[in-house]
Symmetry: D3
Subunit: 279 residues, 6 copies
């Protein structure tokens, strides 16, 4: 995708190239204009490497580390033309991903000490799923399934359009790789129980109140134990502001798309050092 | 890109396909879970058409129209498998783009009656520039240059790394297509004046206060008139909250990345009609 | 891939096109030159549809159905040029896949009545994994993981290069999607037990004798029950000739690459009907 | 294709990467689990080079050389992650191609001393034609045409759908590059003679008995001589078990798809050296 | 390639689309501004079909037919936007190819009645080889080899860098498909004779005078006859102005790149019918 | 595109590779067979670098420099196989582009001293637009717009299909990026004046006589001055033979496709040094 992204910005060539002496090498750096969690450093290195392998990138922070306003986060050295041609694409990627990592960290810190994990969803920007899921991990979250093919999740529409949870799971076990888990998104207690009885590997309790989940979880655990099975229980469709309430409901995981769909980009800008002086 | 986006989600195939009778055709619709400006309808049609040309899409709103909580915005009809396989990708696109259109509309409405236009920037999500710029237009904004190749903009780093604004513009006029405009991003009054004297087609006043711009604009207009030239003046690097103050400074255009970098997705969800009943 | 495969054969164009009146439409059919299980019908339809949408394909057998020597398995009608240009590629695909389905069926029938399932492996022809795994299913087998990303399997080399099974599984649980299973390939009883204690979702008993597995399985089941867990047990690295011995060892699954790496293509040939006469 | 093949296995990333310290470099090697002719060494080098240029590959055998059970055929050194991520794809390629080279060699050795050459056909696995034809050469065979565009072959269907062999060849000579040969697949003596009279560069005697060919060849040679032409005569559609009988019929070439459609993969496995010790 | 060519012109979208009512359908036609031979009609149809399948193309001339100044050569009907978006690319293709067909026809007509054929070379515009070779055929020429892989030609540099013509041909016969011809480019009589003795299928007499070739050909024919072989003799590297002299030298073929490297585009322009009136 | 171009010639592999000892390294050079302006050197370097990074290219002339008959323009050193495999594609590119640069230079020299610039058009060979426009610059010309998306030009058909020049320009200003120029192609004095009144950034005077333009330009300049605007005036659709007459009409720019559509390739050939001797 790196080539596609560079092409999207550079197109038929950077017209301003004619205004500068592109044979000169220069130093530049990225300055943080706010606090946050960094994500995208290795990607920026790959991007510049793809554009011009003579550009040297010195990452001052690893992905997942925190930074503060005013810090220099990356040092760059190379031909003026290449530094400028890759600037916008590199910044756009890192600013977007660091925004996600930073928003994730904020939610994860609310779960600290509870043992409950924060997971993402499939609500990701088209073309960026793997990177956005990586940014979630950099912020301390874990990933839900990566796509439609690495785990089977029966959702509202599947259940309505099939012959019930039990038959659906039987059919899946026969047809999907035995190495893939089957998860059920339950909107009622009844569906959650059916899912466990039918041998699901995990249950999502969708858009239920924290109070309700609190009451429901012990029944689900008991049912699983009875079957000599371990079941993962996840709360989804929650308001991120209420995350602390859900943390004490007994679920294993809380999933939310908020760090991706409701976060702001972090602001970095590229500056240069004229005559070696620092500014 | 449509194929890449579908592949990203579907991967080696939707595992849940085995749980449903995929030969059946079904009705489904998208429900708005909040108010906003719609963007992405035609794209959703293309996406489903690419996936399975037998899926019928009925758009209840054109791109750029407003919708309210609870409205049905799209009706879909087709094979169950295809409705589900395209669901997430289609929703992700439309939710993201409608978020941008909605945020743009809010800012544009603050400029209403002033004649000042709202423009975007090159801060766009990698892979989605053309769509995000389209969403800006759907929200009532206009576009700045599309990439590095359709207009030349001398920015801070170009000016520092070249032999001055005047020489840079001369060099550009000789080397870039005569049909391309030359724009200068000025951080000082002096740079703005030099740009106009050197024959720039437009000037960006970057990170200046509204008050300062108010004073500067008349001098720039006079200088341009003296040269029998028309010059476009743009304010950039502003805080969106202060947009009304900038609207009365005499600039032609205000540019901001906020509708793209600081907006939330609009929430839509896909529902279905069982047995023709409405729900 | 369809386009790549057609290009591989057609290259810069079928030279023999000049020898025939390519404007004429003709009937043709595929004749089975031996018995077997069919696989690839829908693919042949897609291939011809991609080449020339005016070619009509009438499938006499669905994928997974058996055929016998002399049967007509596909009827084709369309422009002479297109029938010939797609002939070799279409036959190569269906002959190869039907060979796999047929070989799978033979092994699956040896397991009939035992409840043990036959699974494939990742030993598949580069470029054809999804199709070959589909052929396995057509022959009555099930699939193992599809690639390195939809389930985690710790194999001999991983165990040797890590800090032990227990730590590896702990590390995986933190880093991979919670929706993905973790499987361990055990070469010793000790490794199998460690895997279950550490919470693996499945264990492969690799290159163990049927006798040995028979003795080991009850201990593994007991260990899993003790932990209120369900564990899948698979025998791998077996000689297909001994498959019946392994079927009664108590394992859930037997995996083998033999239907892909040790099978012969099924022989079909394309014939035509001159003047409507049957031959 | 290398990238496609790696993607097919690695997908969204090797999940087990989290279980091992991927920063360490390790030694590994491939062990032969049976005898045969090697093919695919340079390809394995390219594949790993594409995946990670820091992996060092030391080929112990050149393509076309024989190996015996227990031999180490390739030594590898590099980052653990890369050795594992490329393992399956590299082995699949080399095991498949070495199977073809080995099967070819067996047939070629039956022709030794007769001057008759063994050629392949267009029955090749989609996506792998060039490699499988290369494997045939590694086993001592030669290649038939590479596709539909580098030589014109009139087959059963062409002859039936055209105005006869003579007119077809005349039409081809006018329309195809003068640098391309014209070959005719003859199912009867009459067709073979017509082909030579019409100026074909080669004739395939398809599905004829060795005895019949023995009688026919002298007449065809005489006919060619009469026209001051040299003609290549090939026997095709034969049972590989009878190859010796065909070797003494006077044909120049015998073609067969058996090394590709009826061969087994050769078994190699990747092992590693812990602490430098050999095992 | 069609998509690449359209993208090259349309880029991020035709800006003028905003100036016209793109929902209207219109009639347009192409007018010939000079005489010539047409080439590219089917390609124009494919191009527009790819861009917008609702555009109807009515070809007034088949490829290879002659046209005269003022004639309408194509009628188009469809959405204004699509007619304009494809206009330049379609015209560029047809004008370029018709220029080649026209120039070819001129040379071919000089050979009329001599039985000598006019062939092209591998001097073709990168990316357009197949189309330019097709244009040569439309003008009455035939094709030389299509690339480096469909026939082997030993040229000056190969001969110098090998162990002589005889050994080279022996080596080629063993290594290339037996279905491929071997051609030798001879710069001296000696080389031409060696080529024939070594069993070449054709000889190019490069940059020799017509007089010299006239003397040489009978010796070459005699040599071939002696070996019961048929040999093709071609004159290359000639000045197109002298083509008539070469036509009577006894060669089978004259090859030249002139119709591709020294021809002018034919001028067509797209016009429209306002209110149905003809203009 | 480099890969596509190499593939077009090399296809499934250079068959002659078997005739030469491809392990040897050799020297070669390109010899000029006529005078001209060079274009394509850096491209040849990229092409060979892409094919085989061990080939060393020494450019004796920079793009845009003149060369004379007999000069060596490039020295090459590397593996025989690679020198030969890239030869034809590299020569085809450089011969074509140098032909354009040479033809451009001839026209530019006729404008010398007049201050009038020579521009290209969108009549370029499909797939080569950026390179051909680069060749124009190497010959001393400047570029017109690069595609349909970097400037808006209202042409004959747009004007006919819209609601007039004034409304069209108003509509464009609202819908295209504010950074893009609007140009009008005028076929009458009236259209030219309307364009300027409506605020166009440039006017093309199409197919008007030099005499007519001479009279018209002062009126257009006066009209622009009245509006405090600077307007670019271009003459297009001219006969290149009359270029000197147009040079004194007062226009800023003359545009012509002649260097691309009516030029001949420059002739270079690759030679080698046997035993280090120069020839």
């Amino acid at each position: 995708m790196l080539e596609t992204w560079l092409d999207e910005d550079i197109g038929r060539g950077d017209l301003t190239q004619a205004a500068i002496d592109s044979s000169k090498n220069k130093h530049a750096y990225w300055k943080c204009k706010q606090d946050g969690i960094f994500c995208g450093g290795e990607l920026v290195r790959c991007l510049y490497n793809h554009l011009d392998s003579s550009v040297k990138i010195d990452l001052k922070k690893a992905d997942g580390e925190s930074f503060t306003l005013g810090e220099r986060i990356i040092e760059l050295h190379g031909p003026v033309y290449s530094l400028l041609a890759g600037e916008r694409t590199a910044l756009n990627l890192a600013m977007h991903l660091s925004g996600i990592a930073t928003a994730t960290k904020k939610l994860v810190s609310e779960l600290q000490g509870t043992g409950v994990l924060l997971a993402d969803t499939r609500k990701t920007t088209p073309g960026l799923r793997q990177l956005e899921k990586y940014a979630m991990r950099c912020g301390g979250g874990i990933n839900h399934r990566l796509g439609l093919d690495d785990a089977a999740m029966l959702k509202e529409n599947h259940i309505a359009w099939s012959d019930g949870i039990d038959k659906s799971i039987q059919s899946l076990r026969k047809n999907i790789p035995w190495t893939s888990k089957i998860i059920v998104e339950a909107e009622t207690d009844q569906q959650a129980k059916e899912a466990i009885s039918a041998g699901a590997d995990g249950v999502l309790l969708d858009e239920m109140s924290a109070k309700h989940i609190c009451m429901l979880v012990p029944h689900l655990r008991a049912l699983a134990k009875q079957m000599s099975r371990k079941i993962m229980i996840e709360a989804s469709g929650i308001d991120p502001k209420e995350i602390k309430n859900y943390a004490s409901t007994g679920v294993d995981i809380i999933s939310t798309s908020a760090p991706i769909t409701k976060s702001n980009w972090i602001d970095f800008s590229m500056r240069f050092n004229e005559n070696g002086e620092k500014n």
